[in-house]
C-alpha cells in the first residue's frame, strides 16, 4: 500500500501541546479512578472474605452489577441518568472517575477476596495463639501476603483501567483520545493520530507491567 505518512501533522508545537494536556488528563482520570477502585475493592473484599452477613450480600450485588454490564453503558448512565434521578450534578470528569472507580473496584474486590481466602488457616491460627487481634492479624499477616499473591492480577486491572479511561472521551472529557479525535476531524489524518495514540497508550501501560515484575522479584514469596 502506498500510503504517504505525514508525521508533521502530529509533530508540531500546537498539536503536541494539546496532546500533552490530553495525556495529563488520561493519567489523572486513570489515577483517580484507580485510587477509588483500589479503596473500594479492598474495603469490599474484607467483609466478603469474612462472610459478614448483610455486608457480604451487598458487596455481592455491587460486584455482580458492575461485572455484568459494559463500562460504556455504566459511564453513560452515570453521566446522563444518575444526575436526573438523584439531583446530583456530576462534571464529566467526576462521572468518568466515579464509573472507572466503581467498575474496577468490582473486579478488584473479587481479586482481593480470592487473595484473602487463599491464605491458609494455619497463618490465622499462628497469629491467634500469639495473641494478635483479628484486626492485627488481618493487617500484619493476611493482607500483606494476599496482596503479594494477587499482584499480577491487580496489575492486569491497572492496565485495563488506563485503556478503558479512553471511554471518557465520549462524554467530552478532553483526554488524549478526545484530543486525537478532534485533531483527526481537523486534519483528516486518522492514520497518523490513531497510530500515535496507540503508541502513547503503550508507553503509559508498559511500565506498569515492568513495575509488576520488579515488585514480584523484590517480594519473593513462596
Amino acid at each position: 500500500m502506498a500510503y504517504k505518512w505525514d508525521w508533521a501533522v502530529v509533530f508540531n508545537a500546537h498539536t503536541l501541546a494539546s496532546f500533552g494536556n490530553g495525556v495529563a488528563i488520561t493519567a489523572e482520570v486513570s489515577f483517580a479512578g484507580l485510587a477509588l477502585g483500589l479503596a473500594l475493592g479492598l474495603a469490599t473484599a474484607v467483609p466478603r472474605a469474612a462472610k459478614v452477613p448483610v455486608a457480604s450480600q451487598l458487596v455481592y450485588a455491587y460486584v455482580d452489577f458492575f461485572r455484568t454490564t459494559p463500562i460504556l453503558v455504566q459511564l453513560i448512565w452515570v453521566f446522563y441518568v444518575l444526575p436526573v434521578l438523584s439531583g446530583i450534578n456530576l462534571s464529566a470528569w467526576m462521572a468518568g472517575v466515579l464509573t472507572i472507580g466503581l467498575n474496577s473496584g468490582a473486579f478488584l474486590s473479587e481479586i482481593f477476596r480470592g487473595g484473602l481466602v487463599s491464605i491458609g488457616q494455619g497463618q490465622r491460627d499462628a497469629a491467634q495463639v500469639l495473641g494478635l487481634s483479628r484486626a492485627q492479624a488481618l493487617l500484619h499477616i493476611i493482607v500483606p501476603q494476599a496482596l503479594r499473591r494477587v499482584l499480577p492480577a491487580v496489575v492486569n486491572v491497572l492496565i485495563v483501567v488506563v485503556k478503558d479511561s479512553s471511554l471518557v472521551s465520549i462524554i467530552a472529557v478532553a483526554d488524549m483520545t478526545y484530543r486525537a479525535e478532534a485533531a483527526v476531524a481537523q486534519t483528516y489524518r486518522p492514520f497518523e493520530f490513531y497510530t500515535a495514540l496507540a503508541v502513547v497508550y503503550f508507553l503509559l501501560t508498559y511500565p506498569l507491567s515492568l513495575l509488576s515484575s520488579a515488585v514480584e522479584r523484590r517480594f519473593h514469596v513462596t
Partner: protein
C-alpha cells in the same frame, strides 16, 4: 518466672466435649497437667489429640465442659467469661504446629518480634533484643535476616518454637511438630524440646516419637476414639500397657 504457686495444675480439663458436625471427637475429657510436667499425648490419627491441644490453645471452641489455665477459666460454654481475663490467661499458652506456620513474608527476626511489639507492647529495640535472645536459645543466632523459605524444615520449626517462647509462655503445646520433617531434621527439633523440658517448662506434646516419650515425658496419655484410654508414666504405658487398644496402637507403631 512468675510461677502460678501452689494453687493447682497448669492446665485442667473437666468433662470437655467437642463434636464436628455430629462427629464426636472429644467425649468428656478430664485431664490435669501439673506445673513443670511434660505430658506426651499419643494415639492414632482421629483419636482427638490434636483437637484437645487446639482447645487448650483457644483455637477450637468446646461444646461442653471447662478448660482452665493456671486457675483461670479460658473456655466454659455454660458460663459468661470476661474476655479480657480469658485473653490474658490464653497468652500464657504457647503453641507450635505441625506445619510451622511461620509468616512467609517476614524475616526470621520479625516473625519472632512482631507479637512482642503488637501484643506485649515492647519497643522495637526491646523486641529485637528478646528475639535475638530466643533465637540464640534454639541455635539460630545468625538467622535473623533470613526469610523462612531460606531455612530447612528443622530450622523453620525451631524459629516457630523461638517465636512462641519469646512471649514467655508458662505452658507450651506441641502438635506433631516433627511429623512434617525429614528424619534427619527431627533430632534437632527434639533436642530443643528436651532442653525446654529440662528447664522446667510445662509441656503438652502430641507426637509419634516414642523415643522422646520414653526419655522426656513425665506422663504418657493414650487417647482412643475421643477418650483417655490409658495414662501413666512412660515406662508403664509404653512397656506394659494394660489396655488392649494401647497394645494394638504401640504394636502398629513398631511395625510401621
Amino acid at each position: 518466672m512468675s510461677g502460678p504457686g501452689p494453687q493447682g495444675p497448669a492446665i485442667l480439663l473437666e468433662g470437655v466435649c467437642k463434636a464436628f458436625s455430629a462427629q464426636a471427637v472429644l467425649k468428656g475429657i478430664d485431664l490435669g497437667v501439673a506445673c513443670g510436667e511434660v505430658m506426651v499425648l499419643i494415639g492414632r490419627s482421629g483419636s482427638g489429640k490434636s483437637t484437645l491441644v487446639r482447645c487448650v490453645a483457644g483455637l477450637t471452641r468446646i461444646d461442653a465442659g471447662r478448660i482452665r489455665v493456671q486457675g483461670v477459666t479460658v473456655q466454659d460454654p455454660a458460663a459468661r467469661l470476661s474476655r479480657a481475663a480469658t485473653a490474658e490467661a490464653q497468652r500464657r499458652v504457647g503453641m507450635v504446629f505441625q506445619d510451622f506456620n511461620l509468616f512467609p513474608h517476614l524475616r526470621v527476626g520479625r516473625n519472632v518480634s512482631l507479637a512482642l511489639q503488637l501484643v506485649r507492647r515492647l519497643s522495637a529495640e526491646a523486641a529485637e533484643a528478646r528475639a535475638a535472645e530466643v533465637l540464640a536459645r534454639v541455635g539460630l543466632a545468625g538467622f535473623r535476616d533470613r526469610f523462612p523459605w531460606q531455612l530447612s524444615g528443622g530450622q523453620q520449626q525451631r524459629v516457630a518454637i523461638a517465636r512462641a517462647l519469646a512471649m514467655r509462655p508458662e505452658v507450651m503445646l506441641f502438635d506433631e511438630v516433627t511429623s512434617a520433617l525429614d528424619p534427619e531434621l527431627v533430632r534437632e527439633v527434639l533436642a530443643v524440646m528436651r532442653e525446654l523440658a529440662e528447664d522446667g517448662m510445662t509441656m503438652v506434646v502430641v507426637t509419634h516419637e516414642m523415643g522422646f516419650a520414653k526419655g522426656v515425658a513425665d506422663r504418657v496419655v493414650f487417647m482412643n476414639e475421643g477418650v483417655i484410654a490409658e495414662e501413666g508414666p512412660p515406662e508403664i504405658v509404653l512397656a506394659e500397657p494394660r489396655q488392649e487398644s494401647t497394645r494394638i496402637f504401640l504394636r502398629h507403631l513398631m511395625e510401621a
